[in-house]
Symmetry: C2
Subunit: 237 residues, 2 copies
């Protein structure tokens, strides 16, 4: 089935103490966003990318595309007021039946194996939300203090949040609510449950200078980046 990756890169970069928005910061000499796009393009030959950027950063995004990629598999559109509105803008470019990945541009260390896992699960169940366990104990702030939660029941949520177009496109016709913090919450408001899959420890968000240091510590191409010819585990559907 046809595949689209809606890559949302809306952050202003204020937490990075830099005028460059964080998705344009350099990791081993290339912009963070380069790695994100490259991994999705390598995951499937028939995958197209819809890159959603704030108006002010469209030119910088275009430069990355021109420098590194074949333009015919990547479209660029402007983001909106919130993540919800940015994803909504990106989805307007999709009309055909497909599997749609929605991914944080700053999660640049995901593997093609994770993309394949999300595709397979979304194809079978309609949705695939990658999650990992917490290594730390978890507490919840309550009205009169705080209390422990059972760590075994808690999951930390990553992207790509992946859906069948028959679910995601109608779900995004809904009116915006503040509680829409990710795509899963929108689909749940549409009345559906979401299916969880195993995420990846190294699939971190790069939003602070510390994260860039962490990413550099983790960035070993033989470990993190899959081989570009690694299509062997692509499920034929």
């Amino acid at each position: 089935m046809k595949k689209y990756a809606v890559i949302v890169a809306g952050g202003s970069g204020s937490r990075m103490n830099s005028n460059l928005p964080k998705q344009f910061l350099l990791l081993n000499g290339k912009p963070v966003l380069y790695y994100t796009i490259d991994t999705f393009l390598n995951a499937y030959d028939d995958l197209e990318i819809i890159l959603v950027l704030p108006e002010d950063h469209v030119a910088a995004g275009q430069e990355i595309i021109d420098a590194f990629f074949d333009y015919d598999r990547i479209r660029l559109t402007e983001g909106g007021r919130t993540r919800f509105h940015s994803v909504q803008n990106g989805l307007q470019l999709i009309t055909d039946e497909s599997i749609i990945f929605v991914h944080d541009g700053v999660r640049c260390l995901l593997s093609t194996a994770l993309i394949h896992r999300c595709y397979d699960a979304a194809h079978e169940f309609g949705s695939a939300i990658p999650v990992i366990d917490s290594k730390d104990s978890i507490r919840m702030i309550t009205e009169d203090g705080n209390e422990p939660l059972d760590r075994n029941t808690i999951k930390l949520v990553q992207t790509p949040q992946t859906f069948h177009s028959k679910i995601l496109l109608p779900a995004y016709k809904i009116d915006y609510k503040d509680k829409f913090t990710d795509e899963a919450t929108v689909v749940e408001a549409f009345g559906l449950k979401v299916h969880l899959v195993d995420g990846e420890e190294h699939n971190i968000k790069i939003t602070r200078p510390l994260d860039l240091e962490i990413a550099e510590g983790m960035f070993k191409p033989d470990k993190v980046k899959p081989p570009t010819t690694g299509k062997g585990d692509t499920k034929t559907v």
Copy 2:
């Protein structure tokens, strides 16, 4: 007031794919446990360390102490069946009124500033549990699927979990229960609430090979390690 740091290092290292337990793995040429001990010793001149190690690792722990430290501020004792029992063993060496830090040996990147913050809060409120926000959305597994939690109410729990001896010593007379995943849950079972303080992003647990890479990425002495003479912010009590 007198200070004790009970440093618990009970892990077998199985997740590190190494015969060496993880607290003895080398970070920039020195054992992880070295940094943990060094930071506590630097935090306060009148702080003593009680190092709790599995029987099999006592000799390796003694070697670290002999190689790097003044033995008169560090005592070594054997751990027990669970973290609860190990902490209980360590606390048996403390009889005087004091502030007690209980810390994961594998969290070697904490700062003296965090230790001071925990001391001040435990002195004022009886307890201090360092926590940080989650950067990821959070979901809870339920009987019929999963649901989102409000990320603003969720905290990830770190150590040093810090208490006044008047609270921690009697609390640890309790019988063991499986729900005792950390010291805070023991103190709560004793009937008290715990006070939260701000933790630190870089105060991570080193339990997997990936964590060692992350720690190496973060390990910039001028950023992570406080100056050894940095006692200016020690609160006089």
